[in-house]
């Protein structure tokens, strides 16, 4: 099996991976769907009911992510970059909606949405990775407060700017590393970008899913109850273990060797799950439980940030550690 997979071309390998993942999703979804019949006939209690519903919600997120990445992979590099740029746009829109901005921030917001976002994704698409890495942390970091200061509104200046900077880093900078991974060329393995993106999403999503299930099963007291009612260290460790193992299993495709794949998966899972926790704290600060507008999903774009936040944190860290370690 291993030899056979290694013998395939990289396109075939990634294609095979998508077939496997879609297969797993179909099996799990059908099973979960069949369970919904059973709960009505049997004497299952309310908690079981709610748990299944929650799990199916998570499953829908997984479907959404996998379909998006499949589309990105199938449509080619340029289309993928545009797709992620659009996702960053909608994610930032959600972020800004819930951050109180003042009239003086208008020009900074225009800058963020219509200048910074296109430039960052253009840098990714054209593989200017050196500028791509420093553009937001160095240049934009300075440019945004300058524009705000010129607007002349000093009320809560630091707070407003910090929020805007945060939105830009998470939604634009974080998200732009996903198409950047697609284009990252390792010295000896051309066209492995799609596999890296797949690897990243697969391990992070596995980690989140296992962590979620473990939380439901173990019923441990939350470790940071102010931030999240569900987060606790034991289920986090289970999730990390599962995510890292999933990474190790995927090591049949180069560039990773099993040990390296395990380590990279560990890094990605840690960044993703911790990023998710940070975003939860942010949501609590704003007094909401989800980024979707007041929990009502009609426009389709609502709650996008809830789905991609772990990825936004994991992607830059994964990208830079891969680049640093493998010298790509």
């Amino acid at each position: 099996m291993n030899q056979f997979l290694r013998g395939l071309s990289s396109t075939q390998q990634v294609g095979a991976l998508f077939v496997i993942v879609f297969g797993i999703l179909v099996v799990v979804s059908v099973t979960a769907f069949l369970f919904t019949f059973r709960e009505q006939a049997g004497g299952h209690d309310e908690a079981w009911h709610a748990e299944l519903k929650n799990f199916r919600k998570l499953l829908r997120t997984s479907w959404f992510m996998v379909v998006v990445f499949w589309m990105a992979w199938a449509a080619g590099d340029t289309a993928a970059t545009v797709l992620f740029a659009v996702m960053a746009f909608f994610a930032l829109r959600e972020f800004i909606t819930l951050s109180p901005t003042r009239r003086g921030d208008h020009r900074s917001l225009v800058l963020a949405f219509f200048v910074v976002l296109p430039i960052q994704f253009w840098l990714a698409a054209t593989e200017h990775f050196d500028l791509f890495t420093v553009f937001i942390p160095v240049y934009v970091f300075l440019a945004i407060p300058v524009v705000s200061a010129l607007a002349g509104d000093t009320q809560r200046f630091l707070e407003r700017n910090a929020k805007l900077q945060w939105g830009i880093v998470v939604c634009i900078y974080g998200m732009s590393h996903v198409p950047a991974l697609l284009l990252l060329d390792f010295r000896s393995y051309q066209g492995k970008g799609a596999f890296l993106v797949f690897f990243l999403v697969f391990v992070v999503q596995t980690c989140m899913l296992v962590q979620h299930i473990a939380t439901r099963r173990l019923k441990r007291p939350p470790s940071a109850p102010q931030v999240s009612k569900s987060f606790n260290w034991s289920s986090w460790m289970l999730g990390m273990g599962a995510g890292s193992l999933a990474g190790g299993v995927l090591s049949f495709i180069p560039p990773f060797k099993p040990g390296q794949a395990l380590a990279m998966a560990f890094v990605a899972c840690a960044a993703g799950s911790m990023g998710h926790l940070v975003m939860k704290a942010l949501k609590r600060d704003r007094g909401v439980t989800a980024w979707g507008q007041r929990g009502i999903s009609v426009t389709g774009a609502n709650g996008l940030l809830d789905r991609v936040d772990a990825l936004c944190f994991a992607a830059p860290i994964f990208f830079h550690s891969a680049r640093w370690y493998f010298g790509a």
Partner: protein, 231 residues
């Protein structure tokens, strides 16, 4: 043809920038004769509520546009007439009545007196007349009873136009609406809009009760709009 393309373009633009989410809380979207009345914070309110209505209602619902602003350039005029099918209202005419101020007990002029005074003016035309024509024609209306755009958190006191219309057309259903966030998309004096999610919340219809006074009705209507902010 051009107007159709423009309306499609505007709809796409508004959806990308704001989501243009319509939340029907007190009543379903229904093709009956209605007067939607909403808070007014930006010139984009008009576009927002137009985009939030479903396609079928958009064609029979006519928004009110401030004449001085929306006829300033040929393009603005074209867009309000051809795309939004708007009705121009002359804000300078003060809607025929003095605004109803809250909290003060200054005796209010009876509407008839106000009309009589103005009618002696040779240039007089009732500013509500285009609205009355449209309602007689069977169209629904979108009006902003504050008259001007407010900057404060709370909407300004409502002007009497809504009361007069409700009196003349008791069969028209009065639907309150709250437009949320739109002033952040394009504050006064800015040219480029920024993407921020907005919503329009439609509430339960109110009625003009028999014998209800003008001021009491207008305050109640204003409260109905404000109440939707927290829904």
């Amino acid at each position: 043809m051009l107007a159709k393309l423009m309306s499609l373009f505007l709809l796409a633009l508004v959806r990308v920038l704001t989501g243009a989410q319509a939340r029907w809380y007190g009543c379903p979207p229904k093709a009956e004769q209605r007067i939607y009345f909403a808070n007014h914070q930006s010139h984009a309110d008009l576009v927002m509520i137009w985009a939030a209505l479903p396609e079928e209602l958009r064609s029979i619902t006519r928004p009110i546009a401030a004449k001085d602003y929306w006829t300033k350039s040929a393009f603005k005029q074209w867009i309000t007439t051809a795309v939004f099918n708007a009705i121009y209202v002359d804000r300078g005419k003060n809607w025929g009545q003095t605004p109803i101020s809250q909290g003060t007990d200054v005796p209010l002029e009876a509407p008839d007196d106000g009309q009589a005074n103005l009618e002696s003016d040779p240039d007089f035309s009732d500013p509500l007349q285009p609205l009355i024509d449209a309602l007689e024609h069977g169209d629904s209306l979108i009006i902003f009873p504050e008259g001007t755009r407010g900057n404060a958190e709370e909407p300004q006191p409502f002007k009497a136009g809504l009361y007069n219309l409700a009196q003349k057309f008791p069969q028209a259903v009065l639907v309150p609406a709250w437009i949320d966030n739109i002033q952040r998309v394009m504050p006064k004096g800015e040219v480029v809009p920024v993407p921020i999610l907005c919503s329009v919340t439609f509430g339960a219809p109110i009625r003009l009760e028999a014998g209800e006074e003008r001021r009491a009705f207008l305050d109640r209507a204003r409260q109905a709009v404000i109440a939707l902010r927290e829904v």
